[in-house]
Structures are given as structure tokens and as C-alpha cells.
């Protein structure tokens, strides 16, 4: 009996010592696009462990963005270790309000570290910065682009290599692209913009193109009722209701890719995250272009950032910094971008030989990068869930013809003001 106890004690001490010798980094991450990506992440973690003996990395796949946030916050509340997480870039205000994250500037203090924070595209830092400090380091980031079917363009007598550059062109080209069968039913639409699930995100592109952002940088004021914003929603509604180039009602996000690859719409607006999937399933030549302009071009960014949790020891913070720097290094960012269709997060990533070679062979891969100069941060405010849903509901009510765009957006703005008043 005594000997068993001794062995058990020795084993426990051994375990404890092993734990002390190592720093362990646990991180939660979501996956929102297709493909065997958990394997890719596990591979990166193993590679990092090999290069940094003494640091253990434990990646935990946590479902979609909502699930990942819920799980990470629940783990923190329950006292489970979690030092960093990849969470939705727009969760920043929520995480700040819960007081669970600290800015990366607090740990990235050397000159090299500071240069690292500056190494990303400014467009991707907009959703991660609060009061001048970087809370989110970009990782799996996307943006909206236009896909077009070159065969359909040819058939309609349009230049198959030229996508519409502005709203007027898009309407005119879409009208030519609509195809009807003998009984007058539409067999191919001109353009489709999805309006379920991420309606607010798509609408940000319209609003930005019409010269407006939908919220301020402090996340405490929305701009839903500006006349140019209303005009943007009117244009989106008119595509279906007036010009008849898009189906009336809402367009489903989840099935739009199939509608495009089956040739049921000649153009679509969709996330770059779908690029690899469209490439795999389209049986016709297709092009990818920047979204068209009204007063200017514009598209919001989206996706997930690395956050650093507050409840961490100095050693853990150091190890976490090293790991995130490893994950965002140009080589890895290039690799990740090719595996997923997410954008390369830094100019240096696009300068790597492998991403250069990939872009030469498949030019659509760099359209998202070129569009960054017109990018706007994804809609994110305090009380972000409710404020976002107000906009989603207003958009859907307009697209389905239940409300006029002006009435819907003005009502949403009034409600948003009520929610955000106490944060000003």
C-alpha cells in the first residue's frame, strides 16, 4: 500500500514539474468556411512547438464565431486556462466591456514587436483598434468581391473580361444579362446580393460606395438614417423591385454559391472565403472583380482576429506573443491564404514567392488585396448584436417590400440611439 502511494506521489510531482517547466498556451478558434482546416491549425501548432521547446500549444476548435465566443468566455468564467483566442473581429467592444482582453501593445514592447503590429494592412487593423491600441491581430480575414460568369457575358453581347465599374453599369449590364424562357419566366438573373445572415455586411458595401460609413470609430453611434445610406438601400431594393435584375425578397446566403455555379445568376457579390469553392465547382470561366462604385468603391472587411486575455501570467503573455507572431508571419499567412481563400494579412505575405506564384496562375487571388485601399471596418458597436439586428431587420423589411427604405432605416436609427446613448 505504502509503495503504491509513493509511486503515485512521485508521479504527481513529476507531472507538476513538467507543467512548471513548460508554458502552455490554450487557444480557441472558430472555422466559418469549408475544408479540413483543423488539421492545418494543428500542423501550425506542432511546427511552433518544435521551434520553441518549453512552450506547449493547445488549439481547441470551437465551432462557428458565436460558439467560439461563448465557449471562450465560459472557459474564462469557469477558471479554465485560455490565454488567447481567435474570435470575431467585431466582438471587440463586447470583450472590452466584459473586461477580459488587454491590448497587444502592452506586451509587444520591443522595437521589433512594435514594427510587427504595424506590419498588417491598416484596413484589417480598423476592427481591432480601440482608443489607439491594438486589441485584435488579424488572422482569418475576408472581404466582399464580385464574381461574374464570363460565358453569360459573352452570350449577352458584353465584353467578358470587363466587370461593371459602377452602379449604373451594373444595372445596365444586369438588364442585358437577364434571360427569360419561352413562357416569360426568368431562367437567369443579372445579379444577386445575399441578404440573409449577413445582410448588414453586404449593406455596408452599398453604403460605403455611396460615401457613408454606418458607425463611428468609438462604436457608440450609428449612421443608419443618412440620406445617402437610405439611397443605398433604395438602390439595393430597386435592383429587384424596379430593374427586375435580382429576385424580389431576400436572397439566401447559403445557396447563392450554387445559384452562381449553376448559371442562375450572371453576377454575385460574395465573400472571398468562397473563392476556392467557386474555383472548384464552376464549369465556366469566371472573373473576380472589386465591387462597383457609386461615389467611390468600397467593401467592408470581415473575419477573425487574435485576442489576448487579461487573466494571463507574464510568461504566458510572452509565449502567446511569440505564437501569434509565428502564426502571422508572412510565410504562414501566405500558406493560410491559399488553403482557405482568406486574404493575406500583410503586404509581406503577398511578397512571398509562393503567393506570388499562386497569384500569377490565379489572378482573382489578389483582387481582395487591391480592394483594401477602399475598405471599411465591419459593423461593430457596443451592444453590437442588437444594433446589428436592427439593421438586418430594416434591410430585410425593405427588400421584401414591407417597409420603405427611409422609414425602416429611420426607425432602426432611433432604436440604435436608445441602445447606445449611455456609451457616449
Amino acid at each position: 500500500m505504502r509503495s503504491i502511494l509513493a509511486i503515485a506521489t512521485a508521479a504527481l510531482i513529476g507531472l507538476a514539474q513538467a507543467a512548471w517547466a513548460d508554458t502552455e498556451i490554450t487557444f480557441y478558434y472558430p472555422i466559418a468556411v469549408g475544408g479540413p482546416l483543423t488539421k492545418v491549425i494543428d500542423g501550425y501548432a506542432a511546427e511552433f512547438e518544435k521551434a520553441n521547446p518549453g512552450v506547449k500549444v493547445k488549439p481547441i476548435y470551437a465551432g462557428n464565431y458565436d460558439d467560439a465566443r461563448i465557449k471562450a468566455l465560459a472557459a474564462l468564467k469557469a477558471g479554465q486556462p485560455a490565454q488567447i483566442s481567435v474570435l470575431f473581429s467585431i466582438d471587440i467592444y463586447e470583450l472590452i466591456e466584459q473586461d477580459v482582453i488587454i491590448p497587444w501593445d502592452d506586451v509587444a514592447t520591443s522595437a521589433a514587436d512594435k514594427a510587427w503590429i504595424k506590419s498588417f494592412y491598416p484596413a484589417l487593423m480598423m476592427n481591432g483598434t480601440y482608443k489607439g491600441k491594438a486589441y485584435g491581430i488579424p488572422f482569418q480575414r475576408s472581404t466582399i468581391v464580385m464574381y461574374w460568369n464570363k460565358d453569360a457575358f459573352k452570350e449577352a453581347g458584353l465584353d467578358p473580361e470587363k466587370a461593371p465599374a459602377n452602379w449604373t453599369e451594373m444595372t445596365q449590364m444586369a438588364q442585358k444579362l437577364v434571360k427569360k424562357d419561352a413562357s416569360g419566366n426568368v431562367s437567369r438573373w443579372g445579379v444577386m446580393v445575399p441578404s440573409t445572415g449577413y445582410a448588414y455586411w453586404m449593406f455596408q458595401a452599398f453604403a460605403r460606395q455611396n460615401g457613408q460609413d454606418l458607425m463611428n470609430r468609438d462604436g457608440n453611434k450609428t449612421n443608419y438614417a443618412h440620406p445617402d445610406v437610405i439611397a443605398a438601400l433604395q438602390y439595393w431594393r430597386d435592383l429587384g423591385a424596379k430593374h427586375k435584375v435580382m429576385p424580389e425578397g431576400t436572397v439566401e446566403w447559403g445557396t447563392l454559391r450554387q445559384a452562381f455555379t449553376e448559371g442562375k445568376t450572371a453576377m454575385m457579390w460574395h465573400t472571398t472565403g468562397n473563392l476556392t469553392a467557386v474555383k472548384g465547382s464552376a464549369k465556366f470561366p469566371f472573373g473576380v472583380a472589386m465591387l462597383p462604385a457609386s461615389k467611390q468603391r468600397g467593401s467592408p472587411t470581415g473575419g477573425g482576429n487574435f485576442y489576448l486575455f487579461k487573466k494571463t501570467t507574464p510568461e504566458e503573455r510572452k509565449a502567446a506573443l511569440a505564437f501569434v507572431q509565428f502564426m502571422t508571419a508572412p510565410e504562414r499567412a501566405a500558406d493560410w491564404s491559399m488553403a482557405t481563400g482568406y486574404v493575406g494579412i500583410s503586404p509581406a505575405a503577398y511578397d512571398t514567392p509562393k503567393l506570388k506564384a499562386y497569384a500569377a496562375e490565379f489572378p482573382p487571388a489578389v483582387v481582395a488585396r487591391d480592394q483594401f485601399q477602399y475598405a471599411t471596418p465591419e459593423l461593430s458597436t457596443f451592444q453590437t448584436g442588437r444594433v446589428r439586428k436592427l439593421l438586418d431587420d430594416a434591410i430585410q423589411a425593405s427588400l421584401t417590400g414591407q417597409k420603405q427604405p427611409a422609414d425602416a432605416l429611420k426607425a432602426a436609427q432611433t432604436e440604435a440611439d436608445k441602445l447606445l446613448k449611455s456609451y457616449r
Partner: protein, 287 residues
């Protein structure tokens, strides 16, 4: 001593029931009287303020109306269909096992898988429904994107999913009916319809009550398909109470208000169950 033994036998079940059913229910009721706490603003007692908020919340009333419409659309249809199918496969017909199995198949599929299938049935133009309709020259319709049709689409799918499950209960009940009754009816010269109306259906009342209670509860608790099909849209046209609770709790992070909504849902379900058991039970048993 005998009591101790009894209690010991009861303990495992009691712990599970208390831990996962009764404690959460009481805690939810408790939470509904407090505000949602953040680090900056800790939770405090607000009395009935959350309930006042609820009374003023137009989306709450809309999802409640939606839910009642959904219940009215799914419960009677799925019960009637289940009964019809059960009587049909209770008869001697060729390949009976195959027919029974195919009626039951939708039940064994996970709701999320079913929703993903139906998403493509309902998709305009490339969906199954529009493809079939196109053969007859019917124009394409945006089934899930139109607030007037979205709820009916969800109801049809739910009936398809549920009827087979309820059929099993009816089938079991039908097989426990004594064949002598049918013989007696035949000798008396009763028509099939008369026999069904005066003998079979009344004898099936306990099963109908059971199925009715389950169907009612399901119409309030089954929301998995919303995650895939519509996310409650367009503009809350297909939002149901439980899905709204999910949105409030995990998307808006207003746990107190979500608790308040949950209390209302629980109260409604409890009231319905009591009414169903009290009122209908009096007439359930055949005498």
C-alpha cells in the same frame, strides 16, 4: 429503514432532475428579476422591469404570433397525417415493412440535416420545388425569402419530419386493439368509417393525448431548422420564441432578458400541459 432504501433508489434520478431541470428553472426565474451584469455595471435587482420591457417589445409579440401560427399549422396536420399513415400501414399490404420504414425515415434524420436538404428544395430556380414547378410552367418563387410563404414552408417541413414519429405511437396503439371488436362490428354491419369514428378513434384517445402534448411541446422547442433555413428572417417573419431567446442570450448577451423570455415560455408550456391533461383526460378513456 425501508424509507432510506427507497430514497437511495430515488437519489440518482433525483440528482439529475434537480441539477438539470428544477434548479435551472428556478435560477431562470430568479435571474429574470435582475439586470444583466457586466464588469462595469454589476447586476442589480430590478423587480418586474424585464417583464415591462417584454410587454413593450414588438419582436416578442411577433415571435409569439409566429409561434402560435406555427403550432396551429403543424399540430393538427401532423396528427391527422400520422393517424392516416398508421391505419394505412396497419393493414395487410405488400412490402408493409418497407412502407413503414420509409414513413419513419424522416424521424431518424437529425433536424439540421433535414433543414439542409429542404434548403435546397426551397431554393429559387435550382431547388427541387421550382424545378418540378418549371415543368408545368409555374414561375419560380422565392419561398424562404418571402415573408408570406416562409412560415408555411417551415410548417410543411416540420410536418414531414414529425408525422412519422407520431405514426409509430398510433401504430403501436392500433395493434393493441382487440380484433374481436372489428369482427363484432362487421357482424353488426357497421361501415368502416362508422367503426373508425365510434370505435377505433375513441380507443386511440390516450395516444392522441400523448401525441398532442408532444406535438405542442415540439412546436415550441424545435428551432434547429431556423439556424440553417432562415435565421428567423426575413425581418423576423419566421422567428420563433425559442430562437429569439437564443438570439437575445447569445447574440445580444442580455442574459436577464433571455431569462424573462424563458420564464414566459415555461409558463405557457406548463399551462398548456395542465389544460390538456385536466380537460381532455376526462374524455380520454373509453367507457
Amino acid at each position: 429503514m425501508r424509507n432510506v432504501y427507497g430514497w437511495l433508489l430515488l437519489t440518482p434520478a433525483a440528482i439529475l432532475l434537480i441539477g438539470f431541470t428544477h434548479y435551472p428553472a428556478v435560477a431562470t426565474l430568479f435571474d429574470s428579476f435582475f439586470s444583466t451584469g457586466t464588469v462595469v455595471r454589476p447586476s442589480r435587482f430590478v423587480g418586474l422591469a424585464n417583464y415591462a420591457l417584454l410587454a413593450d417589445d414588438p419582436i416578442f409579440w411577433q415571435v409569439l404570433r409566429n409561434n402560435l401560427a406555427f403550432a396551429a399549422g403543424t399540430i393538427p396536420t401532423s396528427i391527422a397525417l400520422a393517424l392516416l399513415m398508421a391505419i394505412w400501414v396497419n393493414d395487410k399490404l405488400p412490402a408493409r415493412a418497407l412502407v413503414r420504414m420509409s414513413y419513419f425515415t424522416p424521424t431518424i434524420l437529425p433536424m439540421v440535416a433535414v433543414a439542409n436538404l429542404w434548403l435546397f428544395f426551397y431554393t429559387p430556380q435550382i431547388g427541387l420545388i421550382d424545378k418540378v414547378a418549371a415543368v408545368f410552367g409555374v414561375p419560380s418563387h422565392n419561398w424562404l425569402g418571402d415573408p408570406d410563404t416562409v412560415m408555411a414552408c417551415l410548417a410543411v417541413m416540420t410536418v414531414w419530419k414529425e408525422a412519422g414519429f407520431f405514426m409509430i405511437f398510433y401504430l403501436a396503439a392500433l395493434q393493441s386493439l382487440s380484433p374481436e371488436l372489428e369482427e363484432a362490428a362487421k357482424i353488426e354491419g357497421a361501415s368502416r368509417w362508422y367503426y373508425f369514428r365510434r370505435v377505433t378513434f375513441p380507443l386511440l384517445m390516450p395516444t392522441t393525448l400523448f401525441v398532442l402534448v408532444n406535438a405542442t411541446i415540439n412546436s415550441f422547442k424545435l428551432v434547429d431548422h431556423l439556424f440553417i433555413l432562415t435565421k428567423g428572417g426575413p425581418d423576423n417573419a419566421s422567428n420563433l420564441l425559442l430562437y429569439y431567446i437564443y438570439q437575445v442570450a447569445f447574440s445580444f448577451f442580455e442574459t436577464s432578458y433571455a431569462s424573462t423570455l424563458t420564464v414566459v415560455l415555461l409558463a405557457m408550456l406548463a399551462a398548456m400541459a395542465i389544460v390538456q391533461f385536466q380537460l381532455i383526460e376526462k374524455r380520454v378513456h373509453y367507457r
